[in-house]
């Protein structure tokens, strides 16, 4: 029996597609990964000081969270389009949009994490002569890690999914393959890209869960005891 070409018959699952377009898939996956990673990293770098400032000056907390909610309400396609005139067609459009979304989740969770640190613990650390900086990095930050990591996981997983919308300006990672597959109804390409995208989200979530496990040894020993 002659081998049926699944590219010609436009099957959903196609080994031939994976073989012949593997470089395309790799390129798209790499773009997807770096756009996601850079966005979440910048989001974290900005969210941390913002949360600290909002904690220090309480009256700011309301407006900061309000602004974050407003930003989160703007649909992704509109967000990227609004940033287009600022940056032109460049990855900065997608990254800036994704950073703004991740900020909403991260700022909220870092603030909640810092708030969850018991006052007794803070007092004890101060009594032992901890300065404000050491208190923050050696006591408050580790204790608020579970909340921070929960936020980081949510932000990362949604950023992986949202990156696909960047396809509108050709910086959507795997979304590019989905977008270009629409016109030709290229089923194998769209399904493969979608599946890889979900796989990245799950892998990132598991990876961050592992990081949290490594960073919070006390949580483990408490459970074991």
């Amino acid at each position: 029996m002659a081998k049926r070409n699944c590219l010609v018959s436009n099957d959903w699952i196609c080994g031939e597609y994976l073989r012949t377009r593997s470089h395309e898939l790799t390129d798209a996956t790499v773009q997807h990964l770096w756009i996601t990673a850079v966005s979440v990293a910048i989001g974290l770098l900005i969210a941390f000081p913002v949360a600290l400032v909002a904690r220090r000056w309480r009256p700011l907390a309301g407006p900061v969270l309000g602004l974050a909610t407003v930003l989160y309400t703007v649909p992704s396609l509109a967000m990227f389009s609004l940033l287009l005139p600022v940056f032109g067609i460049s990855p900065a459009v997608v990254i800036t949009g994704l950073v703004l979304y991740s900020l909403t989740i991260l700022v909220r969770n870092i603030m909640a994490g810092l708030e969850s640190v018991p006052e007794d613990v803070r007092e004890a650390a101060r009594g032992m002569g901890y300065g404000p900086l050491r208190l923050l990095f050696a006591v408050e930050l580790p204790l608020s890690l579970p909340a921070l990591m929960a936020g980081l996981r949510i932000a990362t997983v949604s950023t992986v999914a949202l990156t696909t919308v960047g396809a509108i300006i050709n910086y959507g990672g795997l979304g590019n393959l989905i977008y270009t597959g629409i016109d030709t109804i290229f089923k194998a390409q769209v399904l493969t890209a979608s599946v890889i995208c979900v796989a990245i989200a799950i892998a990132a979530d598991v990876l961050l869960l592992g990081v949290q496990w490594l960073l919070t040894p006390w949580a483990r020993s408490r459970k074991a005891a």
Binding site: G62, L82, P85, N109, A147, I154, V165, Y179, L191, D205
Partner: protein, 240 residues
């Protein structure tokens, strides 16, 4: 800025507001999809989540469905549905919109029912209330804020997904943006984005106002302290 004045000019040109590709028609489509799909999603998700929450069963499902909803790209699902059902109908858009509105509704309603003050629920049970009295007269009013947060979250999600539907050939305001990209008119892209963002914020505002107006416990609840949402909170938003 050039793009801003361009967008302003675009919005001020009445030719852009009329006709099948005009703002009014696209806005109508967008609102229509939003209302129909949000209503459908509420009809599907709320009864299930409220009963599950009342019985205290299926918590893992109700909570994890939100995590799944976040991980799956709406754009991918829209395109896959369009391939599977053909691009001639609105069904791919409607199904995708309902699909992505369900998780925030489910999770928030379930957790809201579970977190209704246990003391109050026990007291009501002690007074001899039956299961359904307990559900409708105690748990539901107490759970209302969180249930409504879920509805609001779902509404925002539906507006956002309906916008992305334009990338997969669907209707709605997103079409103005994608058409702008196709014709390489930045002014139109920005004008479309302003319209979409404005609609999303307007809907969020309406739902916030309704939350205050509809809350059955509005007059009796003490003001809540603190505004930060704990990490485990179900109120974490859906994807925009």
């Amino acid at each position: 800025m050039n793009a801003v004045s361009g967008a302003w000019d675009w919005l001020n040109d009445s030719a852009n507001w009329n006709g099948t590709d005009g703002v009014w028609h696209r806005l109508g489509e967008h609102v229509y999809f939003t209302v129909v799909c949000l209503a459908l999603a509420c009809l599907i998700a709320l009864p299930i989540a409220i009963v599950l929450g009342h019985l205290g069963k299926g918590g893992a499902l109700a909570v994890n469905i939100s995590n799944v909803g976040r991980a799956v790209p709406t754009f991918a699902i829209l395109v896959l549905l369009m391939f599977a059902m053909g691009s001639g109908t609105d069904w791919p858009t409607i199904i995708a919109l309902v699909l992505f509105a369900v998780p925030p509704l489910m999770t928030n309603a379930y957790v809201g029912m579970r977190e209704a003050d246990r003391d109050v629920v026990e007291a009501a049970r002690g007074m001899g209330m039956t299961g359904s009295q307990l559900m409708f007269r105690i748990e539901l009013p107490l759970a209302f804020p969180l249930i409504w947060t879920g509805v609001r979250s779902a509404a925002v999600q539906v507006v956002a997904t309906a916008t992305i539907a334009a990338m997969a050939g669907g209707g709605g305001l997103g079409r103005i943006i994608t058409a702008g990209f196709n014709r390489q008119i930045t002014a139109q892209v920005v004008a479309g984005a302003v319209l979409v963002a404005g609609l999303a914020l307007l809907i969020e505002g309406i739902f916030m106002a309704l939350q205050w107006l509809l809350d059955p416990m509005r007059r009796r609840r003490r003001p809540r302290s603190g505004s930060a949402v704990p990490a485990s909170s179900p109120a974490t938003p859906a994807t925009p």
